[in-house]
Amino acid sequence: MNKQIYRKSLVYIAFVGPMLILFLLFIFLPFIRSIIYSFQDWNGINSHTHWVGWKNYRNVLTDTDFARTISFTLKYVLATVIGLNVLGLILAVALNVGLKSRNLLRTAFFLPTVMGTVIIGFIWNFIITRLFPQIGELTGIGILHSSWLALPKYAFWAIIIVTVWHTLGYYMIIYLAGLQGLSHELMEAAEIDGAGRIKRFWSIVLPLIRPSITICLFLSIINGFKSFDINYSLTMGGPYGTTESISYQIFQDAFSKDLFSYASAKAVIFFLILTLFSVVQVAILKRKEVEA
């Protein structure tokens, strides 16, 4: 009896162990070290540091920049999660019916995801600042006339558009994979029972592709909270810091401003907020999932 338990736990360790060791070494321990830094005054350069207690945390809480960044990041996550998942699902559904050019179209929508963010920032900068006004002039669409990157409200949407353009392909592919796993028999049975297209979509397709939805929501939320590249290459956080994401600000603090400890404190606070968020999200989604 004992031997069996012993063997069972050995197998458990053999399977889970490697992942856990790597995780502890490269994510957990470094993060503990960041937490230690957050109570010191390390500038990222010196070899000597001092303990400063809660000073960094107190400063973060009175930092209006940090509050603004959190609110930007939350809005950004909300907009990209909706945009990516709704559009991704619509595209996947549209590309799952028998269109002639569907393989070409799938490739086309997936292509932006493989582009590097530096060049994306450069080319979209040009499109937004130069082509938008020209198109606005030709078509008479007033909204295109505004200087998008100079106005906070527009700059926000510029980032959303570029993010959605850049990563829509991933989500489309994941949804598509989910849709292709649906069984034909089930759909036919529903059709024979007299369920219409829309009814079939809501009552059968959506519940059955719940795993895809979980993964896509999960990925888009996590990636949204970690957004960094597009902010860096498209707006540089501007105009006047209104499009600074949390990761971007932490990076700036840690590396450009020699405030490594301060940045660590921000990261810890951010981590606490997000942990709460993720746990709640996963708990809700997990409960609703249906096995086909």
Binding site: S101, K226, F271
Partner: protein, 161 residues
């Protein structure tokens, strides 16, 4: 789903998607045409078609960056990371799902919560830890290792979800 006939509705949908796809591809098209233009031409206009397409930019990058070697490096790292990550994470996820219980759940949430730590802030400490354990030879390698492990955690979670 029965494969229904190709009717007017599908044609309209197809046209709509082709237009949308063209819009999606336009920025990439811009990048492509500018890569075969000369510098003054690029500066004159980003949207114009190249007058005399040239491959000079490509040969320059090829030589200056030592492109073949860089590419080989990337390829090796990608392939080995993907294999390593898939093995470690699927093994772990398999056991976590098969033996539900307090420990598994704890490990799952523990790993899951790490996904939100901004990479930028643990980059430097991660390097220090790696250095202490004599795991680094080059920075380049480590950045990849790091990314690998991040995705490892991500994948374990996704597979377990």
């Amino acid at each position: 789903m029965r494969t229904s006939r190709y009717g007017a509705g599908k044609l309209a949908l197809e046209l709509l998607l082709v237009i949308f796809a063209s819009l999606t591809l336009y920025p990439i098209f811009l990048i492509l045409i500018n890569s075969v233009k000369t510098y003054p031409e690029v500066m004159k206009s980003l949207v114009s078609m190249p007058n005399e397409p040239t491959l000079e930019n490509f040969s320059k990058v090829w030589v200056l960056m030592n492109y073949p070697r860089a590419f080989l490096n990337s390829l090796l790292v990608t392939v080995s990371s993907v294999i390593g990550v898939l093995l470690a994470s699927s093994a772990a996820a398999y056991r976590l799902v098969r033996s539900p219980g307090k420990i598994s759940r704890f490990i799952f949430y523990f790993v899951l919560s790490s996904l939100v730590i901004p990479f930028q802030i643990i980059m430097v400490p991660a390097l220090k830890v790696a250095k202490d354990f004599h795991l680094v030879n080059t920075l380049h390698g480590l950045v990849f290792m790091y990314w690998g492990f991040w995705f490892l955690a991500l994948c374990s979670c996704i597979t377990a979800l």
